[in-house]
């Protein structure tokens, strides 16, 4: 911990960016966090605490939300497919594949973005406007190593776990609904016969992409907060919108890449 690290003099966000999702500033923020953490060291305990704050406390929302979402989709799917195919059992395996590679990770990511984006940007914006971040710098701390890095690492661990949990709940609840409400074979909705490595790769790519983007966008909006309580509210709103739009934008980009390259 050196008191006069060359990059600790300039507080990020002193210049106000127009877009919270501009890729280069986000990449710079990420790189600075990693560099500062390597130089100043980081606390494993902080990372664990953030995993608890992001992961454990979002688990209920994600599981609950995705269970309902799976049920809703089966209702729609059944009313769409039933007049055409009669028994909806035959769409089960294709259903499982589509949920796994497209819908479930994105909607779970969206719910995670809403929960984690709001919490992170509110927390960091409150630290910023109450000058706690400046105080930390004066105490020879480094905000990139002490604040940003643990949250990024915790996000990379917690968010994929949340997406896996959300996807599993959605699949289970759609199988359950197909079985009990539509008299289909519920097992067909858990049949992984059509799932290949490419689908799993798409799932993993999306999960880790969202896991990187959500905390980065939210932290960036938090660090950009200015002014009093109004600034915190503004930053929180921007943080939620930026992280959920980041999820949807990444979905489009990764979807195009996967479609044209794999």
């Amino acid at each position: 911990m050196s008191a006069t690290a060359p990059d600790s003099a300039s507080v990020p966000g002193a210049h106000r960016p127009r877009s919270a999702l501009a890729p280069i500033p986000l990449a710079i923020l990420c790189a600075r966090a990693v560099k500062s953490a390597l130089r100043h060291g980081f606390s494993g305990r902080d990372i664990l605490r953030q995993i608890d704050a992001m992961g454990t406390r979002s688990m209920l929302l994600i599981a609950f939300g995705m269970a309902f979402f799976g049920a809703v989709l089966v209702e729609h799917g059944a009313s769409q497919a039933r007049p055409i195919v009669g028994d909806i059992t035959i769409v089960g395996p294709a259903w499982f594949e589509v949920m796994l590679r497209d819908l479930a990770p994105t909607i779970a990511g969206l719910l995670a973005a809403v929960r984690i984006g709001a919490a992170l940007s509110a927390e960091i914006a409150a630290m910023k406007v109450s000058e706690q971040l400046d105080a930390l710098e004066l105490c020879a701390g480094d905000i990139h190593a002490d604040i940003v890095f643990p949250r990024l690492v915790a996000g990379l661990i917690a968010i994929p776990a949340l997406i896996v949990i959300g996807t599993a709940t959605a699949e289970l609840s759609s199988a359950f609904c197909a079985l009990f409400f539509y008299g289909a074979d519920g097992g067909a909705f858990l049949d992984s016969g059509l799932v290949d490595g490419c689908d799993l790769f798409a799932f993993a790519l999306k999960a880790f992409g969202y896991a990187l983007a959500i905390p980065l966008a939210a932290i960036r909006c938090g660090l950009d907060a200015q002014g009093g309580p109004g600034g915190v509210g503004e930053a929180t709103t921007r943080g939620v919108v930026a992280s959920s739009m980041a999820v949807l934008l990444l979905n489009v980009i990764l979807g195009l890449i996967l479609f044209f390259c794999v």
């Binding site: 929302l61 609950f64 939300g65 995705m66 309902f68 979402f69 049920a71 809703v72 989709l73 209702e75 729609h76 009313s79 769409q80 055409i84 769409v91 294709a94 594949e97 589509v98 590679r101 497209d102 819908l103 994105t106 909607i107 969206l110 719910l111 809403v114 929960r115 984006g117 709001a118 919490a119 940007s121 509110a122 927390e123 914006a125 409150a126 406007v129 109450s130 059509l194 009093g228 309580p229 109004g230 600034g231 915190v232 509210g233 503004e234 930053a235 929180t236 709103t237 939620v240 919108v241 959920s244 739009m245 949807l248 934008l249 979905n251 489009v252 979807g255 479609f259």
Partner: protein
């Protein structure tokens, strides 16, 4: 030690459940109060304040909802592309995507993002007024703060979510025509034929019902959360975050409930 904590488990479970229930009842009660007081304030509404709120909530988020529509259209084409490839039902693509946009993805995804854009903003602004003592100040000079400041926001935010959802759904359908052409090689004319033949007014009505319900939810949840802010700058961030999270949880449950009812009442 372990035995004692196991013995304490039932008591803890009861406390957890009863605490959750009482918080839930509190939230519902607070939302009901906001609704009632808004209804009572309707005759005394300040039109200028309503218009200002509609511009702040709705007009400023118009671009966001259009971008959102493009993303929803893309999700949909990716999703249907696999189904089309598996079952070879190109001729039904227009119907399938129109149905999915109107009945599910359009209203639901828009509502989730607008819970952030409009709900968090509403809660934060009301929270700032609340902790700054502005609402009490108005009451002190004999003006009803609810009719002047809160009721226009309740109405404007509910209206804004509904209208923005319609915009996003329209853009999503246009985008799915475009992406469907690019990715799944489905001619726009094929799309439009099945869209026109099989999309009924019932589907539009179902979308509208969902959007109105989601708009009312976001507006009531964020208003009551914002009005209960206590503390300093940190509290403003907390109420904004809480408004989004509570809205998201309520939206997923409500989405299921409305789908269940509309599939019975408004079958396609």
């Amino acid at each position: 030690m372990v035995g004692a904590s196991i013995l304490r488990l039932p008591a803890r479970a009861v406390l957890f459940v009863s605490g959750g229930l009482s918080r839930f009842t509190q939230e519902i009660g607070a939302m009901g109060l906001v609704l009632l007081r808004t209804a009572r304030a309707l005759p005394r509404l300040d039109p200028r304040e309503v218009i200002r709120s509609i511009v702040g909530f709705g007009y400023d988020a118009l671009l966001l909802s259009a971008v959102l529509g493009v993303f929803i259209g893309f999700i949909l084409v990716l999703f249907s592309n696999l189904i089309v490839a598996r079952f070879g039902v190109k001729s039904l693509f227009g119907w399938a995507s129109g149905y999915a946009v109107l009945r599910e993805l359009g209203p639901f995804v828009t509502a989730l993002v607008m819970a952030g854009r409009i709900g968090a903003r509403n809660a934060a602004e009301l929270g700032v007024m609340r902790i700054g003592g502005q609402l009490e100040g108005l009451r002190g000079v004999g003006v009803d703060p609810f009719a002047l400041l809160v009721a226009p926001r309740v109405i404007a935010s509910a209206l804004a979510v509904t209208v923005l959802g319609i915009v996003a759904s329209a853009v999503a359908i246009a985008a799915s025509i475009g992406f469907g052409w690019l990715i799944s090689a489905i001619e726009p004319s094929t799309f439009l034929t099945s869209f026109e033949a099989r999309i009924h007014p019932a589907d539009l009505l179902a979308a509208l019902v969902k959007l109105l319900a989601f708009g009312a939810t976001i507006s009531l949840v964020s208003t009551q959360t914002g009005l209960r802010a206590e503390g300093g700058a940190r509290a403003v961030g907390q109420v904004a975050a809480k408004a989004v999270v509570v809205s998201a949880a309520v939206l997923t449950g409500l989405d299921w409930l409305i789908t269940f009812v509309t599939e019975q009442v408004l079958p396609s």
